[in-house]
Symmetry: C2
Subunit: 198 residues, 2 copies
């Protein structure tokens, strides 16, 4: 257990400051996001300084927000991608060479931290969890529950999708990528999420 | 054209302040993100005050970052979802009732703004574009190139995916959602993005 929690830094931010940042961006201090901060910090410590990296998150939950708060990568600028793999891990890589590091939650190392283990594997029902004890253990464990490995990312992943011509859909009259076909994906029925009201 | 650009507010932020916020988060003042700010602002003006809304973006590009910077919705907390429809539009809705508003770039209204029209439909080759003229026209057009419609979102969209039990993958030894099968999606070969190096 660390004796100097006050000195814990997440990508240069004192831990308390990082927690306030994620509360503002994400809405609350989710346990997964505190761990996510240690993951981004560990990845950066294992990467060449001053270079730009793209990120792939293997989980939709929480983790992408740690990346968006701590790095220049966002879902809207395309430097962050999310793959629905469901492992609690993220990969930082050079998009030109594919070289990078992957940081993941290590199930063996987690065994030394019962609160974290029981939370992650849902051993303790949610209403019986001691949230404060969990947060204390996450803060003191820091990177001790993580492992890092060198990886090479498939160059296909970072190939930028070619920009398409923009057409006007003959049904809805909105702009859409011409490569999708003669109508946009809503008007062709390929995707639907709306029940239009009057 | 608005004579009072200095007084333009985006969700309560002076326009210049909003542009600085997106530059910090997104890396640059992308034209699509300035328009995105006016879209989020217009959506909020058409929603009941003080209620929480989920958001669906119909485009991966830029727009999600306007939502993440201006609202409590993020990709990591799940209140923002992205559907690859490719229309420049977003829908704000009450996840319990499905009632909401959809804001979209109106191709007819855009015809009054040639710089914006030529940029959006890629009429002018990128190297011939006058970036400053485009930005001036976006700032002065504001919400005049947008339209808003009442919509009802399919309740299936907001149904939360049931949390899965977490299993340890017998191949990689990492945690993954047990409902994915006997191995995680990487070890089963369902998804791949890595070429592991030594």
């Amino acid at each position: 257990m660390s004796a100097n929690l006050n000195e814990t830094l997440i990508c240069g931010h004192p831990l308390e400051e990082y927690e306030a940042m994620i509360e503002k961006f994400h809405g609350n201090r989710a346990p997964g996001l505190i761990i996510g901060g240690f993951m981004v910090d560990l990845a950066q410590k294992n990467l060449p300084k001053g270079e730009l990296f793209d990120v792939i998150c293997e989980s939709m939950k929480c983790l992408p927000d740690a990346v968006q708060v701590l790095t220049p990568c966002s879902i809207g600028n395309g430097w962050l991608k999310i793959l629905k793999i469901g492992r609690f891990a993220c990969t930082f890589f050079d998009k030109h060479t594919g070289d990078g590091v992957r940081v993941y939650l290590d199930t063996d190392k987690m065994k030394n931290y019962p609160e974290i283990y029981n939370w992650f594997f849902k051993v303790t029902p949610k209403h019986e969890q001691d949230g404060e004890a969990l947060m204390r253990q996450i803060r003191s464990a820091g990177a001790a529950i993580l492992s890092v490995e060198k990886v090479k990312v498939d160059p296909e992943i970072s190939k930028k999708e070619k920009g398409s011509k923009i057409a006007v859909c003959p049904v809805c009259n909105e702009g859409y990528p011409a490569k999708h076909g003669e109508k946009c994906r809503i008007c062709s029925g390929e995707i639907n999420y709306l029940m239009k009201s009057s």
